[in-house]
Symmetry: D2
Subunit: 357 residues, 4 copies
Amino acid sequence: MLIVMKHTAPPEQIEHVIAEIQRRGYRAEPIAGRERTAIALIGDDGRVDANVLAALPGVVRIIHVSPPYRQVSRETRPEDTVFDLPNGSLVGGRNVVIMAGPCAVESEEQIFETAKQVRNAGATILRGGAFKPRTSPYAFQGLGEKGLALLAAAGREYGMPVVTEAVDPAGVELVVRYADIIQIGARNMQNYSLLREAGRSGKPIVLKRGLSATIKELLLAAEYIFLEGETRVILCERGIRTFASHARNTLDLTAVATVHELSHLPIIVDPSHATGSRSKVIPMARAAVAAGADGVMLEVHPEPERALSDGAQSLRTEQLPQLIDELRVIARAIGRDLEPRRESASASGVQSVAGTV
Amino acid sequence: MLIVMKHTAPPEQIEHVIAEIQRRGYRAEPIAGRERTAIALIGDDGRVDANVLAALPGVVRIIHVSPPYRQVSRETRPEDTVFDLPNGSLVGGRNVVIMAGPCAVESEEQIFETAKQVRNAGATILRGGAFKPRTSPYAFQGLGEKGLALLAAAGREYGMPVVTEAVDPAGVELVVRYADIIQIGARNMQNYSLLREAGRSGKPIVLKRGLSATIKELLLAAEYIFLEGETRVILCERGIRTFASHARNTLDLTAVATVHELSHLPIIVDPSHATGSRSKVIPMARAAVAAGADGVMLEVHPEPERALSDGAQSLRTEQLPQLIDELRVIARAIGRDLEPRRESASASGVQSVAGTV
Amino acid sequence: MLIVMKHTAPPEQIEHVIAEIQRRGYRAEPIAGRERTAIALIGDDGRVDANVLAALPGVVRIIHVSPPYRQVSRETRPEDTVFDLPNGSLVGGRNVVIMAGPCAVESEEQIFETAKQVRNAGATILRGGAFKPRTSPYAFQGLGEKGLALLAAAGREYGMPVVTEAVDPAGVELVVRYADIIQIGARNMQNYSLLREAGRSGKPIVLKRGLSATIKELLLAAEYIFLEGETRVILCERGIRTFASHARNTLDLTAVATVHELSHLPIIVDPSHATGSRSKVIPMARAAVAAGADGVMLEVHPEPERALSDGAQSLRTEQLPQLIDELRVIARAIGRDLEPRRESASASGVQSVAGTV
Amino acid sequence: MLIVMKHTAPPEQIEHVIAEIQRRGYRAEPIAGRERTAIALIGDDGRVDANVLAALPGVVRIIHVSPPYRQVSRETRPEDTVFDLPNGSLVGGRNVVIMAGPCAVESEEQIFETAKQVRNAGATILRGGAFKPRTSPYAFQGLGEKGLALLAAAGREYGMPVVTEAVDPAGVELVVRYADIIQIGARNMQNYSLLREAGRSGKPIVLKRGLSATIKELLLAAEYIFLEGETRVILCERGIRTFASHARNTLDLTAVATVHELSHLPIIVDPSHATGSRSKVIPMARAAVAAGADGVMLEVHPEPERALSDGAQSLRTEQLPQLIDELRVIARAIGRDLEPRRESASASGVQSVAGTV
């Protein structure tokens, strides 16, 4: 941590800052520049509150040299976090995982039909919402526990672990009863009570980046989960809020490389919520894998026109097989791979590639 | 609601959209333009899910003509919402309310000393945090219930209602026991479980705008509270996240005039969290009142250098009297006023103004 | 400048960076932290290209401790820049200057009528566009030289210096012939050829902040002008582009206090272009003065409904006198003042204040 | 165009708007909704100034139904714009073009060495800056005409057309003498004098998206060029300015699909300027091609540590061959292809793919 002094700061103020640093048990090393002095705080263990030092007289600003997160940092653990799910699906490392399913579970028929099709297309994880946080209180908010039960049943039927969202601390217990992976939604990325509860649940967690969250904040949110003992955290980029209104959000794919530099955690991408429109989901899913994402989360629906939520961004189930084939070729082009689930399809995928090559 | 069709959409697709609108019980009125057809959906009562219509074949986009919020809309209730607090303090209308206090309650001495000074300076509401949501899990997170009890005691001692934050649904009950006004923080603006619980608590609510929330989303969050029966909602602008990094956030004062146009709810401004630095709090507090805000929320601390959180943005208690005097003059310049609390000080305030005039 | 090394950087890389710094003639001071080494570059005179150092092996990032601008920095010149215009109007210091006029000069009648009314209302500078950069090539682009001549004539008639925009280097010469102050528009803030040409013109310059410009970039643009010899630069905040779409742009009033901290240059505010709608111009003009702006630039039109451009954001001329009276009261509340131009009105302004106090 | 009236607008105001529409020669069709009336303006030919209508009494806002650009719109010309360059390189359609070269031309040796290596790696267009607009007036601003001459000579030597930036209208003539393609930089996207001059130069144009430009504004800037007669315009996404600071800018790859929907023009991506760091250029170049970009523009340098500008974001020349091979595989996976320039390498590229498949 570097404490930059005003260029007019008198020696007493510099001395005072040094004393305050030492009083806290750290070493202070002043650096006298051409115009001003900066004071390096040596030994920061993440517990120094920069705001307190920023309030000292003569301080113009604080510069963080080391990241404030610890356990999730690549510096703490240089090798990638890799773990497997109940079905043996690997998350992280060389594998690219495909999670797919409807935005919301709507009926038994809908979720079973979707599950069958996404599994046949090559996805290995089934997604589906039972509790839907919605901007408008008048919009469809999910089937609740009934939705959870249907989702779990469809996952069992087709051999796929299921991922679904918990929206409040009290609801975690219920979700845990049905889900294999708990999702924390973008609106709740800084809902610390929820993060702590989820971190104690014993389940792996998909943690979505908030609409206006920096990467540092995303990693600090993961740090909250780590502090409860859960290290199987999958980060998820799903678009940020910017001035650009041509898509629902701006999918920030550079975040993938950034997370890989700063952290050992895997990061997947959700192009469905990020773009909000079907025609953009396919190119951005391809781009996500090419950018090095550890997976993609896709919304599909057998009949998007009849979907109770987010129909405009849901792929038709029949679009999925070709997309997954393309994602496999792209993954291989950069030294990654998809799990070899859809045996026959996978083979034809290779052939079709060979054909275009 | 206007459903805009692709310029290439064939008559069958237009017919299909019309049929889908009618099937939902609304009237459809096609408007054939020079290049494309748009279809007006007449009679939207806020329950139409635009995403579903957007998913129909041939639809290029949906344009919302009427706002999706209802009860908080100025159109539903043309006159301002005005209500009073336990001490008779008026919120809304012509009055400009001053809420002040420390970021976090730290000790009995600190909160009582601050309470005395802010009351003497002319503030009428005491603020103070007991549960602090912090970006880093390593930062000070508040005294919890002990902090609530100290805050309530200080408020009683100096005759000021107190406002403090509830951070999760389970915690609302505890906060209600001590607080006169419940604050929902920016990170929780779309924490719907919390909004619902707070809306059922019987207390007025300060609802802070999320860092990346649009005004529409802010009003929809207030609508969630209204639907639980609580109509005493005070909105609060506290800065948005933009590319501009010269202050912690970008204080969006234009939001004040916008909210006043769209809604009957009062809106206050928190320049302390928005700017993050003491030297900017004073000009922005003045600007907030000049922009028409129904109040300001200010962080003050007797010794900011010793504050356990956010010291850099806390005014010194001795800066408050002059600031409040200036705010009173500015309020009067635009036909508003502060409550005439600090009788003697108010008088000297007038004199000092007369002096500068 | 601080060069932060990777925590894994071996001693050779650290040595190499030190050597590269010394090779350029600066002093290098390594600071060995708990986890990594940072190297302070001492003596930076603004000519070190950070990108080159950032490209050295083992460097993780560069932190700028001192600002890259020099001549416009408050550190170079602690006292405010204050200068006067041909009519004796003061810019900077305690004075708050009011510039007003139509978006575009449309006709002799329109500009003379507007000039008369804005002068009577208390404005001291007349604004008006003759060359209008427009997003759409199909929109009205101004009267060109004819507009310049009409503007200059109206300014002479009513004793007001005129400010108008130059849009390209070749056009500066023409604008100089008619205008007292040259405006550089937001789109051209980083049009360096134009900045240089304007900086050589011998006229004071209003430099508008670009829609996505940081304060550092704004000050560096002013530095380009200073390097040509012109030091009478008036910065202008006119809104930035953010996700918030409830107004045309987000007026960033905190920029006023920031500029005053970092630079000795005056900064005015243009609430008309920033908000884009008449009902928001008045509150934001008041807020600008309360925030400490050294002036405001207002669009007014005798008949906004007939304006050829930006009618929606133009105040009606009859709204101006009361607004300027309010601005005067607000200015005085914070120790500033407007020039006592509108003698009779100014007097009544004081009385009306006395009345409300 | 839809003119939305206030819900309180009396019939006279509605009549007035209708009359104003008709006075301009368009058809007005009122749509009486449940709460308010909206008036459709039928027959908009792009020449209606929305701001003028927005200023009419009772109007709450204007909604644009059709896009304001015409000639560049996909609706005007459904098929893709495809054209070839002097060396027969195709731009647009199925081809993915690779432009590469140094940020700035620095010396004969540097540009010839770079040209040779990028050509051998498979690039077909040589880029290099001779006039560099720099944020700081103290930074290296390019070699000027000498740089242009060296670039042109290197292009001739290695059979590659060259692309370089023109920074002001007066400079276009000079650039035209040496360059095959004129680049308009991000800062100048709305420099209309420059756009017009470039549009009259007879050369194809790479038009970079401004840091805060919407897609609509980008297309309107291209429309300015079209109106001068030049239709060979290549758009370029190079990152937008957002709150996210983990990379220099936020590369908005969704813009690629959006442009392809709205316009017939090709769009390439510049991951070097967008990300600002070498380690992110490679994943984002891959992602750009996967997202459907019609090309990428890459900065490479034989010795980035010695580069006079932007060394941190320049790939080493030896990184280029493998990257281009990967881009070719990705392009083929989605039905596109790179030009078969690097014959031998291309063959080995296929083999290495076959190897990983």
